[in-house]
């Protein structure tokens, strides 16, 4: 069986510790120009919205109940 010392030596030989110093460029523009996440509707969101519309159309008196959940 490979013992702990041998495993540590193998790991450090194959993956020498990283001595990276500083980034090679200014990263601030990368932070400020980060693409904003696109908020997309999933099928579940669309299904819930459709169900709410249908519920209001089918039961107009129940809209207050729907509004309560918002």
């Amino acid at each position: 069986m490979i013992d702990d010392d041998r495993l540590g030596t193998l790991l450090r030989s194959a993956m020498p510790p990283m001595n990276t110093g500083e980034p090679s460029r200014d990263l601030w523009p990368l932070v400020t120009n980060r693409p904003r996440p696109v908020i997309a509707w999933s099928r579940i969101d669309a299904g819930i919205a459709a169900a709410i519309v249908l519920a209001i159309v089918a039961m107009p008196n129940a809209w207050l109940l729907v509004a309560y959940h918002f």
Partner: protein, 188 residues
């Protein structure tokens, strides 16, 4: 993460900056970024083991920090909070890289090991293969604990888990690595 900032501000200035950052002040955020980005970059590089990826993950981590500024507690260390966000961003990067076929092989391009502890090229490739097969959660503890020799308490803090959980992950990773390396023909 030790405070190795080139121009450390006084604790009072730090606290004021952190309060302003939490309130959404972009200038304060930039000042904190300038003070901490090198430290965060080095931490991330230890995990992702690729300079270009580490730069991108560092930027992503600071962007996540800004979006999550409302959750920052100015009474606690900004560095520790930032390191945890950066570790999560690095883990996400490892998961993406793994889904795309892995990046561990890039490490083969690093300088050759010292002659005294050199293993054969086949052994190096076997190690990279075995590490690449670990889940990102196990790989991160192997890299930080066994390669970078970071203290368990620091790893636990960065991952948001207990020291005992880190030890369990190291144990599981070592067991998987041993099994895989022996299958790949690495001599004990």
């Amino acid at each position: 993460m030790r405070d190795e900032r080139a121009d450390p501000a006084s604790p009072a200035t730090d606290a004021a900056l952190e309060m302003r950052f939490a309130a959404g002040d972009v200038a304060a955020f930039e000042a904190l970024f300038r003070a901490w980005h090198g430290e965060v970059f080095r931490w991330v590089a230890r995990i992702v083991r690729d300079r270009a990826a580490a730069e991108d993950v560092t930027a992503e981590a600071f962007w996540r920090a800004y979006r999550g500024r409302a959750r920052f507690d100015p009474s606690r260390s900004f560095g520790a909070w930032m390191r945890r966000i950066a570790t999560n961003a690095a883990l996400d990067d490892l998961r993406r890289a793994r889904a795309d076929g892995g990046r561990v092989a890039d490490v083969a391009g690093l300088p050759a090991p010292d002659a005294g502890e050199a293993s054969s090229r086949d052994d190096r490739e076997a190690v990279l293969t075995a590490v690449g097969r670990l889940s990102p959660a196990l790989r991160v503890v192997v890299t930080l604990a066994l390669v970078e020799e970071q203290p368990y308490a620091e790893i636990a803090d960065a991952l948001g888990i207990s020291v005992a959980a880190v030890k369990v992950r190291v144990f599981r990773a070592v067991r998987a690595l041993r099994r895989d390396l022996e299958r790949l023909g690495v001599r004990p």
